[in-house]
């Protein structure tokens, strides 16, 4: 009789975590930084049609790094959850917290062995407040990693994905509270450029975010002229 194949639970988790981490580290990082009226997502992404960031609902944005097919299906699932909820109840009942919990549950379940391999993704769910109140945009950031944990952050910026440390260090020195949108974008771009050690053209950047001063749907995406104007001052 063959001996049943045994792997200690600790080892099993460790192997899966290492697998997911390595997958994520191969990709490029994404920065989310708070500014006076909301949050900006900045990443290097030469593709003009395949995005890493997206609108989920009126005040909720989504950013992800890792395996595209995996986070894309999670993005669409998030939009579905939000739209079904907003339709059945009210638009203000759709919250980033509920969405972050759903993602956390789903990623956790997949990581614990529901699937042949864990998802190689890190997600960022951002939400701005309802109305501008003169004291910032009431930003909430939920950083959810491959095993379903929601990572707490003290700082008003978060770096997810590949080489995060040099970018974080650069932001720690440069980021200041109350910056306007374009200043925040330039700070993020500078951090990405410094960490990469090479220039990154504005056409190769994906820049989007949430702005509380916009009407109803707060998500925005900067393209072409508007993007160049914001990055190159």
């Amino acid at each position: 009789m063959a001996t049943p194949f045994y792997v200690a639970p600790e080892q099993f988790m460790k192997d899966r975590a290492e697998y997911a981490r390595k997958g994520i580290a191969r990709g490029r990082a994404l920065v989310a930084a708070e500014y006076r009226d909301g949050v900006v997502f900045v990443s290097e992404n030469p593709s003009r049609s395949l995005h890493k960031t997206s609108e989920i609902y009126d005040r909720i944005g989504f950013a992800a790094v890792g395996r595209y097919n995996e986070f894309e299906s999670m993005r669409v699932a998030g939009i579905r959850l939000a739209d079904v909820k907003g339709y059945q109840y009210a638009r203000e009942d759709v919250t980033a917290k509920a969405l972050a919990n759903a993602y956390s549950q789903a990623l956790g379940a997949i990581f614990m062995g529901g699937e042949a391999k864990p998802y190689e993704v890190e997600l960022l769910i951002a939400e701005v407040g309802h109305e501008p109140d003169g004291e910032g945009a009431g930003l909430d950031l939920y950083h959810i990693i491959y095993d379903g944990s929601i990572v707490p952050h003290d700082h008003r910026f978060v770096v997810i994905g590949g080489e995060t440390e040099p970018i974080e260090q650069s932001l720690q020195q440069q980021w200041t509270p109350g910056m306007d949108r374009d200043a925040a974008i330039r700070t993020c771009v500078d951090a990405l450029r410094a960490a990469a050690g090479r220039p990154i053209e504005s056409d190769d950047l994906e820049v989007s975010g949430l702005d509380i001063t916009r009407q109803r749907r707060r998500f925005f995406r900067l393209r072409d002229e508007a993007l160049r104007a914001a990055v190159e001052r």
Partner: protein, 274 residues
């Protein structure tokens, strides 16, 4: 509360499912209780019929640089006036609007589900639908409502918008079974539409500006209110005016009460001196 992985993954879209960017289909699968029920059985009882709220006249006019869509504010229940401040014009997205006539409950739900549908598609696909695509989707929703229309709960929308890619304004009319018809210059639906159409036919001129189109729309609603008991005229005592919205390359914009009041006064002035 804990979930099994399969339950959580059930919400993830399958890639080759053509329905996966449709909100209506998602709702059908994820929350079937929220989808309007398909009734079965005989015709509706007269007592119930008389208590249903009906919305009436909505119309749209094409202009050189966009479209105007407008609706009166009266809702009736049987022979009673149920409301004098009902909204029948709803923005569907930034570049289009839907006007509703027929049974108010399902009609307003149709407008809401349609707006969610357009937004859902735009978010999932990353690009908005074409105007033609939007009008087709609305026809599908009216068709899905057919079983209820058979019970007498008829919903007839009017759809107007500007294609952001071409800047061209278009109007689409529907019938209760989802037939879709593109109107060349103007359209009206609801119980007062006969009178409104007569005015529109007389006053609409090709290539007019949005302001003129709005003025014609207000005048046509005025005539509809005079001829049709279910269409309300401007309520000068409570300052309740028709809802008039214009859509051009800049997007959907509703006229303020003052602007509509000015058009109403022009109409009254012209008729007083006639």
């Amino acid at each position: 509360m804990t979930f099994r992985a399969e339950e959580l993954l059930a919400g993830l879209p399958s890639p080759f499912d053509a329905r996966s960017s449709s909100f209506f289909e998602t709702l059908r699968r994820q929350a079937p209780d929220a989808v309007p029920p398909v009734f079965a059985g005989g015709p509706m009882a007269e007592e119930l019929r008389g208590r249903l709220v009906d919305g009436t006249t909505v119309l749209a006019v094409r202009a050189a640089d966009g479209v105007v869509i407008a609706g009166d504010r009266r809702a009736t229940a049987g022979n009673l006036i149920s409301r004098g401040d009902m909204r029948k014009i709803f923005p569907a997205d930034d570049w289009s609007a839907v006007g509703i006539s027929g049974t108010a409950g399902p009609a307003m739900e149709l407008a809401r589900i349609f707006a969610t549908e357009l937004e859902h598609y735009e978010k999932v696909e990353g690009d908005p639908l074409s105007l033609e695509g939007k009008s087709n989707k609305l026809a599908g929703l009216v068709r899905a409502h057919l079983p209820m229309a058979m019970q007498g709960l008829i919903v007839v929308p009017l759809f107007a918008g500007v294609d952001p890619r071409t800047g061209e304004g278009r109007i689409y009319e529907y019938d209760p079974v989802g037939g879709r018809y593109r109107a060349t210059s103007h359209a009206a639906t609801g119980s007062g539409s006969l009178a409104a159409r007569a005015t529109l036919k007389r006053l609409v001129t090709a290539g007019s500006d949005l302001r003129t189109a709005a003025s014609v729309a207000v005048e046509a609603l005025f005539d509809a209110a005079e001829e049709d008991s279910a269409t309300g005229g401007p309520d000068l005592i409570r300052s309740i005016y028709p809802i008039v919205a214009s859509i051009d390359a800049e997007g959907y914009r509703e006229l303020t009460d003052e602007q509509v009041a000015a058009h109403v006064e022009d109409t009254v002035e012209r008729r007083r001196n006639r």
